[in-house]
C-alpha cells in the first residue's frame, strides 16, 4: 500500500467515527448527561496506549520520561474514568424499597 493510501484510510476512519459518534448518543435523556460525559471521558483514556508506544520507541532520556509521564496521566484518566462512571451508574440501579442504606 502506498503512503498516500494509508493516509487516506486514516481519514476515512476519522470521518466515519465522527458520524458514529454523533449517531450513537443522539437520544440521551438528561439524567444520563453526567454519567455519559464521564463514560466518554474514560474512553479517551485510550491515550495511555499512545504513551506506551512513544515510551517504547523513545531514544533519549528526556523523551523516555515524557513518555512515562504520558503513560501515568493516561492510566489515571483510563482507570479513574471507568471506576467513577461505574460508581455513578451503580446509584441508578438501587431501586429497591427505601430503607436499605447505600
Amino acid at each position: 500500500m502506498t503512503e498516500a493510501t494509508l493516509i487516506l484510510y486514516s481519514i476515512y476512519i476519522f470521518m466515519l467515527a465522527v458520524f458514529v459518534g454523533f449517531e450513537v448518543i443522539s437520544k440521551v435523556p438528561v439524567q444520563l448527561h453526567t454519567p455519559l460525559m464521564s463514560g466518554t471521558n474514560a474512553i479517551h483514556g485510550i491515550v495511555m496506549l499512545g504513551g506506551m508506544l512513544v515510551l517504547a520507541r523513545a531514544e533519549t532520556a528526556l523523551l523516555t520520561w515524557l513518555g512515562f509521564a504520558a503513560v501515568v496521566l493516561g492510566a489515571m484518566n483510563l482507570f479513574g474514568g471507568f471506576v467513577v462512571t461505574d460508581r455513578m451508574l451503580e446509584m441508578f440501579k438501587t431501586k429497591k424499597p427505601a430503607g436499605r442504606k447505600a
Binding site: L6, S10, A17, V18, F19, V20, G21, F22, V24, I25, S26, V28, V30, Q31, L32, H33, T34, L36, M37, T40, N41, A42, I43, H44, I46, V47, L49, G50, G51, M52, L53, V54, L55, R57, A58, T60, L63, T64, L66, V71, V72, L73, G74, A75, M76, N77, L78, F79, G80, G81, F82, V83, V84, D86, R87, L89, F92, T94, K95, A98
Partner: protein
C-alpha cells in the same frame, strides 16, 4: 498468527465494544452495562498494545522502557482508581474535570515526544502526521490547563469569574500569537518554536476559562472532554494508530453533541456560554436589585412554626439543589419526606435539568439517598402542579427557582426554564443566608410575600425540622 495481525484484531474488537458501550450508556436501563462493555473494550486494546510492543520487538535492546510502561500503568492506574473510589458524589464534576485534564496532558506530552522525533529527523514525517502533532499539542494543552482551571473553580480555590474588556483584547492578541507560532513552526522554527507553542497554548486556555462563571463549568468540562477526544485522535494520526483515531474521534463527536444538548437543557447557546462571561457582573445585577425594590425584607420562620405549617398540608414539592447535596442533607430530607408521606402528604421531588452542578447530577445524588424513583419529576411534568401545591420546599437551590429568568433580559440566566416554585401557596426556602447562589445573582423569590426563610446549613436545618415534626405529633 503474527503479532501485528493479532493486535489489529484485538483493536477492532475494542472499537466495536466502545461503540456498543456508548450506545448502551445513553439508555437508563443499560447504562451501567454500557460502561462495563467499554471497559472490556479497553482491556482488549491494552492487551493489543502489549502484543504489538513486545511481540513486534518495538522495545530498544537494553532499554528499561518495558519496565517503565508497566510501572507507569500501575502508578497511574492505582492513583486514578483510588481517587475515583474516594471522591464524594457531590464532587463528581471536579473529578471528571481532573481526569479529563490527565487525558489532555497525556496527549500534549505524546505530541511533544513526536515533535522532538520529527525535529531530530526520526519518524515518517508526512504532512498529516506533522499537522496532527501540532493540533494534538495545542488542543491537549488547552484541555489540560482548562480542566485544571475548571477543577479549581468548582473546588472553590479560585475566584468565580474575572473579566474585563482589556482581558478580551488580550485573549485576541494571544490567539494571534498562537497562529503566529504555528506559522513559525511551519517555517522551520524547530523545537524552540514548539515550546513557545506550548507556552502560548497555556496562556490562551487560561484566558478562555478564567472569564467563565462557575455555573457554566459543566458545559466547559463537557467541551474540554470532547477536545481531549480530538487531541487523542490527533495523536492517533501522528502515531499511525487507528485505535486512537477511532476512540478519540468517537469521544470528540459524541462529546460535542453532548455539550450542545447540555446547553439546550440550560437554554443557552454555546457561544453565549463561552464568550458572554456569565456570573461576571457585580454580585447584585442592576435588574435584580430593581425587581427586589425597596421592600427587600425576608420573613424568617422557626422550626416549630414550620412543623405546624407542614402538619396541615396535602401536597409538598421538594426542590433539591446543590446546597442540599453539599451539606449531605439528601438522607435526612428523605427521612422528612417519608414521615410526611406516612401522614398522607403527597410528596414529590422536582428535579431541574441542571440541579446540582451538572445535568443529571441531582438524579445521581437522590438515587444515592434511595429516594424512590417514582417520586422524581422533571421540569415539564412538575411545573403545572405548583399552582395546586400547598408547600414548595426549596432546599439549597437558588438559580433554578429564580423568577428573573422569565423576564429580566439583563440577567445572566434569562431564558433558562425554571421551576415555578413561586406559584405554590407557600414557599419555604432552606438556605444558609440571603447571599446569592453559585451563578452570583440575586433571587427575588426570597422576598416573595408567600416565602418563609428557614436559615441554616441544609442538613442541620432539616434535622431540626424532622425533630420538630416528630414533637408535634
Amino acid at each position: 498468527m503474527n503479532p501485528k495481525l493479532l493486535s489489529d484484531v484485538a483493536y477492532l474488537t475494542s472499537a466495536i465494544l466502545f461503540i456498543i458501550g456508548l450506545k448502551f450508556l445513553s439508555h437508563p436501563k443499560r447504562a451501567r452495562r454500557g460502561n462495563q462493555m467499554a471497559a472490556i473494550g479497553m482491556l482488549f486494546a491494552i492487551v493489543a498494545s502489549f502484543i504489538f510492543i513486545w511481540g513486534g520487538g518495538l522495545l530498544q535492546p537494553g532499554s528499561n522502557a518495558g519496565v517503565l510502561i508497566i510501572v507507569g500503568i500501575l502508578v497511574g492506574g492505582l492513583a486514578g482508581t483510588f481517587g475515583a473510589r474516594r471522591v464524594a458524589m457531590t464532587d463528581m464534576p471536579q473529578m471528571v474535570a481532573l481526569l479529563n485534564g490527565c487525558g489532555g496532558g497525556a496527549a500534549a506530552l505524546i505530541s511533544t515526544v513526536e515533535f522532538s522525533n520529527f525535529a531530530a529527523g526520526r519518524g515518517e514525517g508526512d504532512p498529516l502526521a506533522f499537522g496532527a502533532t501540532l493540533f494534538g499539542a495545542v488542543i491537549g494543552s488547552l484541555s489540560f490547563w482548562g480542566s485544571l482551571m475548571a477543577f479549581g473553580k468548582l473546588s472553590g480555590f479560585m475566584e468565580r469569574a474575572i473579566t474585563s474588556a482589556f482581558q478580551k483584547f488580550i485573549t485576541v492578541v494571544v490567539f494571534l500569537a498562537l497562529i503566529a507560532t504555528i506559522v513559525w513552526i511551519g517555517m522551520g522554527g524547530g523545537i524552540t518554536a514548539f515550546y513557545a507553542l506550548l507556552g502560548v497554548s497555556l496562556l490562551f486556555s487560561l484566558l478562555m476559562v478564567i472569564p467563565i462563571g462557575g455555573a457554566d463549568m459543566p458545559v466547559v468540562i463537557s467541551l474540554l472532554n470532547s477536545c481531549t477526544g480530538l487531541a487523542v485522535a490527533a495523536t492517533g494520526f501522528a502515531l499511525r494508530e487507528p485505535a486512537l483515531i477511532i476512540s478519540g474521534t468517537l469521544v470528540g463527536a459524541s462529546g460535542t453533541l453532548l455539550t450542545l444538548l447540555m446547553c439546550k437543557a440550560m437554554n443557552r447557546s454555546i457561544t453565549n456560554v463561552l464568550f458572554a462571561g456569565v456570573g461576571a457582573g457585580p454580585v447584585a445585577t442592576p435588574g435584580a436589585a430593581a425587581a427586589g425594590g425597596p421592600a427587600k425584607t425576608a420573613r424568617e420562620i422557626s422550626a416549630d412554626d414550620l412543623a405546624m405549617l407542614l402538619a396541615n398540608i396535602q401536597t409538598l414539592i421538594v426542590i433539591p439543589g446543590y446546597g442540599m447535596a453539599v451539606a449531605q442533607a439528601q438522607h435526612v430530607t428523605r427521612e422528612l419526606a417519608d414521615m410526611l408521606t406516612a401522614k398522607g402528604v403527597d410528596v414529590k421531588y422536582a428535579v431541574h435539568p441542571v440541579a446540582g452542578r451538572m445535568p443529571g447530577h441531582m438524579n445521581v445524588l437522590l438515587a444515592e439517598a434511595n429516594v424512590p424513583y417514582e417520586q422524581l419529576f422533571d421540569l415539564e411534568q412538575i411545573n403545572p402542579e405548583f399552582e395546586r401545591c400547598d408547600v414548595a420546599l426549596v432546599i439549597g437551590a437558588n438559580d433554578v427557582v429564580n423568577p428573573c429568568a422569565r423576564y429580566d433580559k439583563s440577567s445572566p440566566i434569562y431564558g433558562m426554564p425554571i421551576l415555578d416554585a413561586d406559584k405554590a401557596k407557600n414557599i419555604i426556602v432552606v438556605k444558609r443566608s440571603l447571599k446569592p447562589g453559585f451563578a452570583g445573582i440575586d433571587n427575588e423569590i426570597y422576598f416573595n410575600p408567600k416565602t418563609y426563610m428557614f436559615f441554616g446549613d441544609a442538613k442541620n436545618a432539616i434535622q431540626k425540622l424532622v425533630a420538630a415534626v416528630k414533637a408535634a405529633d
